[in-house]
């Protein structure tokens, strides 16, 4: 069952994306007619749970949005999870549940696209900050001071 939400929060200057399972599950409960039993909610959630945990963990470790946007394997993972959800939808036999799941799967894909687009725009604003920082550094720091900073960074 597709149940991804995302929120963006800043923590000590680091931007992180947090994925959590939430609203779609609530939405699905509202959308599914009470006479339709969705047989996939528990088992599907269980099967997808390790991948979701790994995605969450990868995001938290990414430190900056540039690591996320430039990380092809990470983006592939998101795409793979989305494809699995889509695949699951296609195998559902209950028509009512299938329609609902299809809608939710599309929302999930849209949701993922939204995540990537959000990350991209954050990356662009990070770039603007970086340009400003270079100006500040070159105008206020001596070569010796920059050398010390560089050494401490790459040591």
């Amino acid at each position: 069952m597709a149940y991804f939400l995302y929120c963006v929060y800043r923590s000590r200057g680091k931007k992180m994306i947090k994925l959590s399972s939430n609203a779609y599950e609530t939405k699905s409960n509202q959308s599914i007619n009470s006479t339709h039993h969705n047989p996939f909610s528990v088992s599907f959630k269980k099967s997808l749970s390790p991948e979701l945990k790994k995605l969450n963990s990868d995001i938290f470790q990414s430190q900056t949005t540039s690591n996320i946007v430039n990380n092809t394997s990470f983006l592939n993972k998101i795409s793979n999870v989305s494809a699995k959800i889509k695949n699951k939808v296609n195998n559902i036999s209950f028509n009512g549940a299938k329609t609902t799941m299809k809608k939710m799967s599309e929302n999930t894909r849209t949701g993922f696209k939204g995540i990537i687009s959000k990350i991209s725009s954050m990356f662009k604003s990070e770039k603007a900050v970086a340009v400003n920082n270079v100006e500040v550094l070159k105008n206020s720091q001596s070569v010796f001071e920059l050398k010390q900073m560089l050494i401490s960074k790459i040591a």
Binding site: L137, Q141, K153
Partner: protein, 118 residues
């Protein structure tokens, strides 16, 4: 807290020419190939005789970096530069005067690439 990319870029654009020596000493000698790549980008962007020399005539640095990934990256940076006059001049001097045959051969190869990219 400044990022390493910002510090290297600031050195590349610093008005004090001593910055080139710092980039050569610290940046091009870094064990991390990513640092060597972005140092090269900063030196190419500076596009002065001193900054280009670092990348073009030193065995083991810049276009002569032992890591193919790094040397290709440097060559691509040189190719994408809009003003290639100084780098071609240095390469020609290297071809005629350098004592190391492998450095001369590489310089010859890169000069051809830059001329065809124009």
């Amino acid at each position: 807290m400044y990022k390493v990319e910002e510090i290297i870029q600031a050195l590349g654009e610093h008005e004090d020419n001593a910055a080139v020596a710092v980039l050569e000493e610290v940046g091009t000698n870094a064990s991390d190939e990513y640092i060597r790549k972005i140092t090269a980008e900063a030196l190419v962007k500076r596009n002065s005789h001193d900054s280009l020399k670092v990348l073009l005539i030193n065995s083991g640095k810049g276009i002569h970096d032992l890591n193919v990934d790094v040397s290709s990256h440097v060559i691509n940076s040189l190719k994408s530069s809009s003003d290639k006059s100084e780098m071609i001049k240095i390469l020609e001097d290297t071809i005629s005067l350098h004592s190391d045959e492998s450095v001369k051969n590489k310089a010859r190869e890169v000069k051809e690439l830059l001329l065809s990219a124009n």
